[in-house]
Subunit: 255 residues, 2 copies
DNA sequence: CGCACACTTGAGTAATGTCAAAGAGTGTGG
DNA sequence: CCACACTCTTTGACATTACTCAAGTGTGCG
């Protein structure tokens, strides 16, 4: 019961998921399971959870959450990269976070979303209707606890980002950003010197509170100073991690 | 059971002149109750909760949470104003939030605090030991849910602050700040044109990602333009709220 | 091949930061 | 009660970072 967001061309779509979709077991195949809310679910709860789940895939650059719309769904990203952002009336944009496989999305305070979410790459997510999920959570305290943990983590990350936005220079911002990406690669057990960099310079700028020009110039500066490489194929390679750590102004050791 | 966090060490409780002796039920007298986590507690739970509670008062300018220390406690502010902040190694400071009566503090992801907290004014709070509180929460799902709601609200506020820090000008920042303070006065049913302003210019600067000089100049600018008054006695009076709303660049109507 | 788009580079500007000093309010001791 | 010291705030002059505007380069795609 794969649902394509905004009628594009994917096979296998069935009419409507108005009722509960009966997939064999979507969670069984979910590679993001161990990373996410679902990690706190036991066998029994996972089966229940699966019944609330609608797997969806969206193409790159599609906005699938818009600020002001009724917050009827929660999301669990299972593949790809998502940007979460807010807009000022005149169009200025602040990206509040990039989400990856395993990340949870949709903790909303009100009845409408206060943010937008857009696929940076092709994305898959599991979608939960809010009401049934909330009821389910009431009966699965472990998962509710897990959600609180997730929220706490996000809060800590948000505070770190505030330090970056309010007090760091362009060099420090970009160095911090690259190191966080590298850190994530390491957690996934992948080579930490070539982080994925699927987002545009403009997105990086909107995340770091800069302009694309400043981001570009700072990349060039880092390259000129031998701290990074910028392969034509895209992406980035970190050549001098400890120097970047020093620049980033973070307290963390160069782990 | 009232504890003064003043002295260098904090051994046993030491009643001080002027300190109110501990009531049999500290929560009964708590004016912040309806605002806080405790709002979700019923009679029975409230009694249990009271047993976990240590009311504490701290003098202005005392730091009572330091980053890196074991996160053994959670806090519920009952009186006064607290600033929560992070430091960069070279001393640059970013205040991530001001807390008021009813606000909850201490959602920590790790075993150590990732932030500092300092009393801006004389402050009272209820302190909970983490372990027992967590156990208690496991048995009081309503309160756990409440905590998740609180975390969600904070997350939304943090995102809003990221927009401010990353994308707003000095004028927009200060106008937004004043309006948030006014909004809070309104919620409390107090006159919304004279928000409390107990924090220094330096604190405001560290909250808005500016310098004290820029904050001061922007205040002066607003005064010159007839948008605010700056009484010698301190504080501020908003004279033209809708103009401030326009400047703030926020979407919210001038409610 | 040529168009579109993302990225880079350059030149000049504007907003904010830095450094310095002068009020202004507060508390202390003579 | 005044003089002094201290802190916070304001104001001024100047410096600098990052932004704006503009053009140029490269890459992918139709």
């Amino acid at each position: 019961m794969k649902e394509k967001y905004a009628g594009s061309v994917l096979p296998a779509a069935q009419p409507r998921p108005g009722a509960i979709p009966p997939p064999p077991d979507p969670c069984a195949a979910c590679s993001a399971r161990v990373l996410s809310v679902c990690a706190a679910a036991d066998e029994h709860h996972l089966k229940q959870l699966a019944e609330l789940t609608t797997p969806v895939e969206v193409e790159a650059h599609r906005t699938f959450i818009m600020a002001g719309e009724p917050a009827n769904y929660l999301f669990n990203i299972t593949e790809g990269v998502v940007k979460v952002y807010r807009l000022l009336p005149d169009g200025r944009q602040q990206i509040t976070g990039f989400l990856f496989a395993g990340d949870f999305l949709g903790l909303a305070t009100a009845n409408v979303y206060a943010f937008n979410a857009e696929a940076v790459t092709p994305v898959r997510y599991c979608r939960f209707a809010r009401k049934p999920l909330e009821q389910f959570l009431g009966e699965a305290p472990k998962m509710e606890r897990q959600l609180l943990t997730i929220a706490s983590n996000e809060l800590a990350a948000a505070q770190e980002q505030m330090v970056l936005l309010g007090r760091k220079t362009a060099r420090e911002k970009l160095a911090s950003f690259l190191l966080v990406l590298a850190q994530r690669m390491k957690r996934l057990g992948k080579p930490a010197d070539t982080p994925d960099l699927p987002m545009s310079r403009a997105d990086i700028a909107d995340y770091l509170g800069l302009t694309t020009e400043t981001v570009s110039r700072t990349f060039t500066q880092f390259r000129t100073q031998g701290l990074i490489e910028l392969p034509k194929s895209g992406g980035v390679r970190l050549k001098n991690r400890s120097a970047l750590v020093k620049i980033s102004g973070s307290v963390e050791s160069a782990d």
